[in-house]
Symmetry: none
Subunit: 210 residues, 4 copies
Amino acid sequence: MNETEEQLPDKTRKPRQDRSIKTKDSIVQAAARLFSEKGYHRTNTKQIAAAAGVSTGSFYSYFTDKRDVFLDVLKIHSQAMQAHVDATVAQLSAKQSDKRVVISHMIESLIQSHTPYISFHRELSLLQLSDEVIKEVMESQYNISRRKTLEFMKLSEHELRTSDLEAASVVVFESVSSVVDRIVFSGEGVSAGRLKAELVDMLVHYLFGE
Amino acid sequence: MNETEEQLPDKTRKPRQDRSIKTKDSIVQAAARLFSEKGYHRTNTKQIAAAAGVSTGSFYSYFTDKRDVFLDVLKIHSQAMQAHVDATVAQLSAKQSDKRVVISHMIESLIQSHTPYISFHRELSLLQLSDEVIKEVMESQYNISRRKTLEFMKLSEHELRTSDLEAASVVVFESVSSVVDRIVFSGEGVSAGRLKAELVDMLVHYLFGE
Amino acid sequence: MNETEEQLPDKTRKPRQDRSIKTKDSIVQAAARLFSEKGYHRTNTKQIAAAAGVSTGSFYSYFTDKRDVFLDVLKIHSQAMQAHVDATVAQLSAKQSDKRVVISHMIESLIQSHTPYISFHRELSLLQLSDEVIKEVMESQYNISRRKTLEFMKLSEHELRTSDLEAASVVVFESVSSVVDRIVFSGEGVSAGRLKAELVDMLVHYLFGE
Amino acid sequence: MNETEEQLPDKTRKPRQDRSIKTKDSIVQAAARLFSEKGYHRTNTKQIAAAAGVSTGSFYSYFTDKRDVFLDVLKIHSQAMQAHVDATVAQLSAKQSDKRVVISHMIESLIQSHTPYISFHRELSLLQLSDEVIKEVMESQYNISRRKTLEFMKLSEHELRTSDLEAASVVVFESVSSVVDRIVFSGEGVSAGRLKAELVDMLVHYLFGE
DNA sequence: GATGAATGAGGTTTCATTCAT
DNA sequence: CATGAATGAAACCTCATTCAT
């Protein structure tokens, strides 16, 4: 977990052959699963290698270190998430449904895309602290999401109550994220349906005032 | 060489002398600081002991392990937080100010009480995953906070738009927590004032519809 | 931070390569020597590793802990001992020599096989106390030896004075073991030859009455 | 566990007052019990002090170190044992019973005196290895016992078969000790009665030839 | 290339002993 | 004197990483 990045001649293999790509992918998959299940620190490289069906030696020919896989897992996770949300947005915009339905779908989609990564997500907040690169990736992640939220809101700009769209997008994004987190993470307590209903209600009233 | 654990006769010291109490306290303080600064996993017991100005041996006569101090830090942190919020609530109720002001003060208070623990808070979500005891402490923490939110809302029950107070309290609590987190955590980006203003606006419209 | 132990995925290494087998063996050898020289408690894993010419890490990839090597040393020691005795028995039976000579050879053989492990042997009685597994290994060890004594006696069953062969085999085994121990262990005092002569005399008179 | 004894000005208290004597005694008692139960190495000074109802500080004003109590325990143990045997001898000699009965009583007496120290006894063999002083105490112990055995045998010298009394006394002592150990130590297997019967039989035939 | 054995720094934990109160 | 808190050396053990085969 170096913070000061030096430029070493890159020793890791750039997969060009099919088999190689598959191997690298299986390592990332294995790592993603283990990180989700047990967290970054309680997962060791030997376990990742074993779960991916390769030797520890091989692990290190695909990744410089443990943090390196983590970064890959992070990227893949982000892409999957963004893609899912993009798809949903595209679908929704086309249909031009009423606000309440749009927001409701949006949230449902977020719950879907969140679910596979429940605990991985938690991990991020921790590592973020201690690693500049991860911090940046996360930051950019956040910004992309926030900007998307912003753009999504701009589609209905003339109908919005607030004039500070920037701040509003943060508030909306955070609120949605945290409630979705709670829905996905804790099975117990208040039901998902009720929480979602209230969240939608809150956003509609906040944004459109009606 | 024992396999079947017999009774452990002399475990962690229960402070009898004043000096002892002070030592234990200084260890908790040091741990709290280090956990906040560097995170749980990047802090080791030797560092905690050193920061508290005691030997590693002392550390282990007050706590069985790192997790054990963590639990104490967690409790103290929670108590401080709850106390701060309680004080704010008490003050606000007395003044009977208008909704917007009340919520605004409330959020300000949360920001204040959150600030000292910025990163410690992040840590929690991670550790929660893998430790049943911590999970329980956190869960109970969350429930206390949620119930307080609920009670706070009930003070104005007849004015509220929603009928599902339970779900509403979760949504409100999560939204406030996450936005406050963002305000406290990231110095950059949209200013605290603007975020707070939008958050207040969202809550007022959601809860009181006006 | 786990409380409920999950499956331990990657415990001690099972030697697959030749090198690995050699390493494991050299650790056992080193441990055997050190345990004999200094006793179990005064030998630590670092010393064992160093004596075996490997790192502490290697030690722990072959054995879970010190007790674990001890068990291996114990097994190897026992096997060597049994083999030595078996060889002697085989040789003696063939020759059909007179009782006094047979017993004398037998004891001589025991002295030979005992010698390399003088103090290691002492250690056993202690550790036995506190470790169920070691207790069992020792118990089974003892039973094998006792049964062999019994079988050896049965070869001359019709000539024996006693009718309680079971009890007799215990008494014979214990007497022989302890006197052999004394012969091997303490260089000083009464000479080995004289002790052996008396031991033989005692057994002959006890068993065959003449 | 120093091997080279230096002459330090003795800091430990020489108990002159009653209370002091009682305290020292209770520490030795506690230590004896714990050593027997868990062995020397698994018993720590804190436990001994606690079991004796004193502070660790007090422990060190009565004994220079852990080994020091051990030595005391050892001495007391020996004395008790010798006394018990002496008493038995005195009683037996008076009665002038027949050989078989005498030996039988003797062994019974040894079993009685052994029982309270079963495992403590095992411990000795280990520590012996690494501590010169303990070695000497044990050696002298052994010699006293052996000499007593010798003297006991001399009472019937004219009836004995052997001419090498010295060697015979060793063989007798070792045989008796080990079989008694087995009787006391392992409750399972062949019954005490049968073992004792065979032991007596062996000794009688060996010593008196009949 | 792939393998898995080896490394060793760094973390955790214990406990005999000292010493301030 | 008694107390028990404090000490720290020394043991234990882990795991990211390297390297011989």
